[in-house]
Amino acid sequence: MRELSIYIHIPFCVRKCLYCDFLSFPVCDGINYVNQSPHAKNERISSYVNLLKKEICSVSAQYEEYRVVSVFFGGGTPSVLPLGAVSGIMERIGASYHLAKDAEITIEMNPDTVSEDKLREYGVCGVNRLSIGLQSADDEELARIGRIHDYRAFERAYETARRLGFGNINIDLMAALPGQSVADYERSLRTVAALSPEHISAYSLTLEEGTPLYENRESYRFPTEEEDREMYALTGRYLASCGYHRYEISNYAKDGYECRHNKVYWRRGNYAGFGPGAASMVENVRWSDPADMGQYRDYVQSMAARGGEETKREPSDFAPERQILTRQEQMEEYMFLGLRMMCGVDEGEFSLLFGARMEQVYGTVIDKLCADGLLTGERGRLWLTERGIDVSNYVMAQFLFDRV
């Protein structure tokens, strides 16, 4: 049976963080923040959850032949969902998909929006991995980037989760925050490692155009690129000493706890995304659900209505854009996604997938990058050097073919 991963997008946040450019909406409409009743708020969320369920069920026939090996609730902030929502969604997945017994089921959460009741619910409905967005152990840094929680709130959530028996927890940490020194970052890093989570994602802040942080960038001192790289090197070094290994550019895990779901993306496995803007790729066809909430609603409705139609249509037929990846595009992606992983890309696998030797296709590029000290390899595998990681965009761009 072929494998499938499922991504569920929860596009709500209590408030958008100042650096975030992902698709999410505040739980309350900004204008009516004060006046909006909790009822109206719940109404909005529950109608969205119903839509999600509808989408999940209406396409399930398409995935009859697939075994679901991972589910990931991402966002946004999935933990803003009211009690009962996550289990309701899981119930639908369980009922209409072949959910593997050992599937990795992750939910992202914000320390401030989670409660003991919710955690209990997650455990009961099968969630076995938590990803907590801490970002920093320093309350001032948290405030500067617009996080709504403080370190204390995180600690409470983490302790509660452990007490309830969650044995696979990721903590998100950010480096290169405004006003942060290398020493500041090291304190956060040590604090987090001391808690001994199974997995740590540590990534540098990227200033995205259009975010409030970007607009106000003049008012902060951002770490220099030198400091940023120092933080990066420090992360690898220190976490290694604590028993974590780096398995992707920004991800660290204890043995046996690499995130299966994310590795599906980097290995180009099949995944189906549900929710506005969620991306799917199944057997080298890629599409996204409409990002606009209204259009997303129409999209789900029209898919649900196709039950009576004679010709069977793929979910991607309804998507605004569908891309059937050419062999060349597949090769490009194989290289630039695979190289994100420290184990790199595999020449044997490449031959098997594409019927051509990596050497034939990319020989010149690889030789040059190896000579420049950006790539290295042995025994049929190829991966980024430390310097190669620093300039990985440059390295990866070399694997794109010239467009005519």
């Binding site: 990534y203 690129e225 995944y271 996204s288 620093d390």
Partner: protein, 604 residues
Amino acid sequence: MAAIDRSRIRNFCIIAHIDHGKSTLADRIIEKTGLLTSREMQAQVLDNMELERERGITIKAQTVRIIYNAKDGNEYIFNLIDTPGHVDFNYEVSRSLAACDGAILVVDAAQGIEAQTLANVYLALDHDLDVFPVINKIDLPSAEPERVKNEIEDVIGIEAQDAPLISAKNGVGIDEVLEAIVKKIPAPKGDPDNPLQALIFDSVYDSYKGVIVFCRIMEGRVSKGTAIKMMATGATAEVVEVGYFGPGQFIPCEELSAGMVGYLTASIKNVKDTAVGDTVTDLNNPCAEPLPGYKKVNSMVYCGMYPADGAKYPDLRDALEKLKLNDASLNYEPETSVALGFGFRCGFLGLLHLEIIQERLEREYNLDLVTTAPGVIYRVHKTDGEMIELTNPSNLPDPAQIAYMEEPVVSAEIMVTTEFIGPIMQLCQERRGRYVSTEYIEATRALIRYELPLNEIIYDFFDALKSRSRGYASFDYEMKGYEESKLVKLDILINHDEVDALSFIVHADSAYERGRKMCEKLKEEIPRHLFEIPIQAAVGGRIIARETVKAMRKDVLAKCYGGDITRKKKLLEKQKEGKKRMRQIGNVEIPQSAFMSVLKLDDK
């Protein structure tokens, strides 16, 4: 039409400072004379070219013949000859003026006389034209028609008290202008029975008819079948068609005779044969001598033009060929640059002319161009007595072979309100100007005269002038001649490789400053590479300035989740695409924009 009564013809032009409303008045005159309905009027009928309309200036002279029923009950033929409005096209202006018998001087009621107004009026008076003023834009709240009238009388010395007060924009006072044309502009002289003597004031190339020559018949007559000769170029041809200028079209007629303005075609293949200013005569019955004032137009400003995509070289060549058909003042010859590959060294009348050609190549011929810094023609006197005219800095001989060098100098007139005299004089001093005089036009305005090296004003002088006078200064210049000067070639080295396309000639005293600014500018333009890149400026092998583009420390997308793959790929593609638009010099990739950005080195 029966035989034309010369006393009912009026050949005139409109002269004005830029933006004072010349084209708008022309539109109104054409509209009023009734050949076009209001509905048919495209705004600014005379400015045909898309570019002209956008820039609000006239590049090629346009001419139109209209019929006016005057209050005296007679029907008059007006030939309105529109003149180019920029100093780059001074010679073409003078030839257009020579085709007229009078001129309407348009002066903005709020701004009064400007440098270009004066330059054009003097040019008109030099050609013995009868000039009468009209005061435009009287609808503006800041209009001061009385003050402007006095200014015209004081400064130019022509009668202005009965000048029509008009608003061309709103169509106010146009009838008065039309009557004034009849009364104040003299009828043409000349005798149709004399040998043919016609002035060429413009020509355009048409792919069916060949060159269409715009001319004013001074003496004699010309019709289909006349064998003609261009007296300066020596070209001969047989006339195929003659006619006059309808609005936006050519209207054939039987004959053109003394006093008339019109066109002729004669299967001429090249505008080079029909130089502006040349005299057309009858091959079999030639006039005694050509009309005065002809001169060969020389390019003043040169630059290298290269296709951004080397494969487009033949396209660029074809495009230049086509433009040249219509523009005898454009010169070009092939050249090769180590940095930029195959391209052309092109000569222009001035910087505006350069910009226009560049824009037309990019817009009408869809070419992506890399242009090198514009320069003037230097005269290099070698120790062996030979003199070479240098248009490409790369061709400068070894310093040991150079006795001395000369550069072109212009006489400039700058009109400015008195509060800005200080900053403007400072600017001129900075640009190696030699002060000549200051003349007060009235209590608050002055005309400053300077002699300036042409190479100091070709790129950003006009912008600097505007910014230092908050837009109030106006400027005009004419070539004065060549003067000896201490000049050196400034070379730019990127990662220790000399980049020929970035070399330029500069005065020795400015070399250090310019070199430093070039390096700074290039540092901004050249993206970081995996290695460190030194940028150096050198004169005669000696390094005078240096900047360093530091090695790229970090270029990594920290986070990459599922939905990001398309986005991530776009990012990588952009990075890759960016590289394509770069020029490879050694190991270094230099963006095309770097070659142009160095033109904008002004400190403001």
